[in-house]
Assembly symmetry: C2
Homo-oligomer: 462 residues x 2
């Protein structure tokens, strides 16, 4: 049997400590944070080097056995969960920070290093890394690149794609693409690394990443601002950006539904005496903290006079800023308080987010009058998160999904802003992609993975 032969060849080539057989594969390699039912792979390979990955892929290719690349298993779309008869290939042993240079602002890492390790190394070198998200302690850079991760820093620094200067990638046939040249400008034919960013492991395995770091801000100030509605929230964002430019580092909008859930789940005291339709947590970078606080105060006063801001707190200490940011931490509690949580991560043309949220709320209420739903998001980037408590919609989770994604299509939005497609959003991909685009994606897939062995069944069917 070819599968048995493949396992024997993997063991004899890579060593028994690198290859685990199906029954021996620990549970953590069988599913991710998406809630996909666990699936035992044929085998788990945990290589230590690019050469070992290349050898493993050559063998899998020879036996026509598919490979599922795995990072920190924190994905929310199921892209890293094994499917039956596949070899899971985990990057978790490739976790070295290979080089960091504060003069050039570049860091080269193996793909299995955690986001948090990257962030900490950047800070130790007097810089910062531009991407941050809740799973930082577990998620790996290779996975962040493969899903083109977003998070809290996008407004200022862009998505993961904009932090990536180079990649090393192993293709399905085992060939290695060395694309780690440390140059911002390099127009020598197709920028191949772009193809693998956000491809969710369907075109190759990312083994090394050359990252761009950003100058560390000298000071950061945080404010929590109450506003009457979404359009006003956009006006306040515009006002802040017009005053502080690219120094506006975060603009996290929370509808009151979200704020109330956060206060209750995290046992926080209400920041304002009154409830308000919408709160925004805003970070602004600058040179001097006291000066920054004064400047923010002044802009907010103008916004209050204009009727845009109803109330506001400017944090006077790091501790107070951290306290304000706790309000944004409800997502970590979703699975404890919603049974189950039906979570959405969508993008809309920025100006339409408010109308979209209203349309969802109206549609949900019409069908499930008891429904409990929350709205929040990185609104500066056009990204809205919605969570619905499955227990309050008669367990009709699929119908909730179908309804929301129908509205995304209607509003010409994206069914996945930052979590990717994986397994779970495949049915809805065509809401955001035309047939011509789907055909082009399939052509690219066949070009780089002609046998269809890289993470098959994820993102789209061939």
């Amino acid at each position: 049997m070819s599968q048995e032969q493949l396992i024997q060849e993997l063991i004899s080539t890579l060593g028994a400590d690198v290859v685990l057989r199906g029954a021996d594969v620990p549970e953590r390699y069988q599913t991710d944070w998406s809630g996909t039912p666990p699936q035992q792979p044929l085998a788990l390979v945990r290589p230590r080097t690019t050469e070992e990955i290349s050898a493993a892929l050559r063998l899998c290719s020879a036996h026509k056995v598919a490979v599922v690349p795995q990072g920190g298993m924190t994905g929310l779309a199921g892209a890293a969960t094994p499917t039956q008869g596949t070899v899971a290939l985990s990057l978790d042993r490739m976790n070295s920070i290979e080089d960091i240079n504060s003069q050039t602002g570049l860091m080269q890492v193996q793909a299995g290093v955690t986001l948090q390790a990257v962030q900490e190394a950047a800070v130790a070198a007097g810089m910062v890394f531009g991407v941050d998200l809740g799973a930082r302690g577990s998620c790996q850079i290779g996975g962040n690149v493969s899903t083109n991760a977003g998070g809290n820093g996008v407004l200022q620094h862009g998505m993961m794609r904009e932090q990536v200067l180079g990649l090393e990638v192993v293709l399905a046939d085992g060939s290695v693409l060395p694309m780690l040249r440390p140059m911002i400008k390099n127009n020598t034919g197709y920028d191949l690394k772009q193809f693998f960013i956000g491809a969710e492991g369907t075109l190759g395995i990312i083994t090394r990443v050359l990252l761009r770091l950003r100058p560390a801000p000298k000071a950061t100030a945080t404010t929590l601002v109450a506003m009457p509605d979404f359009d006003t929230a956009l006006a306040v964002l515009g006002r802040m950006q017009s005053h502080f430019g690219n120094s506006v580092a975060a603009y996290e909008l929370m509808w009151d539904s979200f704020v109330q859930a956060s206060l209750s789940w995290l046992k926080l005291s209400a920041p304002f005496a009154e409830r308000h339709p919408m709160l925004a947590l805003i970070n602004v970078d600058g040179k001097d903290e006291a000066q920054l606080q004064d400047d923010i105060q002044q802009v907010l006063e103008e916004a209050m006079e204009a009727g845009e801001v109803l109330d506001a707190i400017v944090a006077q200490s790091v501790a107070q800023a951290q306290q304000l940011w706790k309000l944004r931490e409800a997502p970590a509690e979703l699975n404890n308080h919603m049974h189950p949580a039906i979570n959405f991560d969508v993008s809309l043309p920025q100006a339409d987010i408010g109308r979209f949220a209203d349309a969802c709320e109206a549609a949900f209420t019409a069908r499930w009058p008891q429904k409990h739903s929350l709205y929040f998001g990185h609104v500066g980037d056009g990204n809205l998160h919605v969570s619905v408590d499955g227990a309050t919609v008669n367990g009709e989770c699929d119908a909730v999904e179908a309804e929301l994604y129908r509205l995304v299509g209607e509003f010409k939005g994206s069914v996945s802003a930052e979590h990717g497609i994986g397994l779970h959003k495949k049915p809805y991909l065509s809401n955001s992609r035309s047939p011509a685009e789907m055909a082009a994606m399939r052509a690219i897939k066949r070009a780089l993975d002609p046998l269809g062995l890289m993470n098959p069944g994820k993102v789209f069917e061939l």
Copy 2:
């Protein structure tokens, strides 16, 4: 004859005013600024709409006749020059700015609009566009995207790629990829638009572009700084960035050879009493011009005390800033003063640029003791330009090129930082790309253009 039939079908489908036959094709469509010998195409098509481009490509595809997309014809690598028996397809009639929104900071344009028109529309809307380069009045956005143009704004805003939020592209078979969704975050499968940025028209024709605009700086200050050597120049750049962060908008380094040529060709008076090994033109953005000038003065004083800066001028008016920037305009005069000018546009790992320039100078001097060569560049981006006067190297232009590109390979640099590969750098592409990368590029090309009809013979041979 199939070619004759194709022309007849193009005329009957698109109209005689859209299709010109070979002998009627004006000279400006026969070559670009690269100095490639003019070549009459089989025909020139100047469509007015995406639909006309789609129809033209369907016909060309049916007759298996290749197509050369053309923008402003300002390219320096020959990518837009026709080759024998091809149909040239100019975007110059598709020059509408279709939408601009200062709240979302987005502008949608047809591909044939000039860079300068985009810049002016952005300013009129209270924003700025992030890319600027000398050919702004003639070059077109579609060409800027197809070559992933760089220029003066890269340090702050990134390359053209980072200004592009969406594209509309017509593939060789006439199918249209609508990728114009106005969302920063959109992880729904492969980010197909990335494939066409920098592809020099070899994968499809860009017909529309959705551009990101940037907030307009409230004030900009300019300084000209004299320094003893390259490593010090990098230290000064680091010092400026550490103080001003991403507000350092330009850092243009000029070796003395370049400065002297500029003074002489443009009849400028010397900015400093003494000659210095290196001058840098630096722009910094901020909120208040006087404050900014003071801050720069202070940073420069610290740098002078540290021995990094030998002399400096901080412009006290816009007119003085413009006068200082004139020093950087020698490139426009290269072809008038060098016979011929042998121009290079290369990238190096930033820290190695000084040693690379020294190595070139030594290698040139050893073989051509009379050689006249200039060094300058967007050094903050790792980009170096070198120009050599062909008349001072016994006309051995090819040997000069071979020597410089050999050194680029040795220094692990890029043979094209921002001008692309086109026709002229094809022989040297392998100095910057591995065989595995070349194979992947060819696979992508075959996937999206199976008949090889899009700008054949440019960038690489299939």
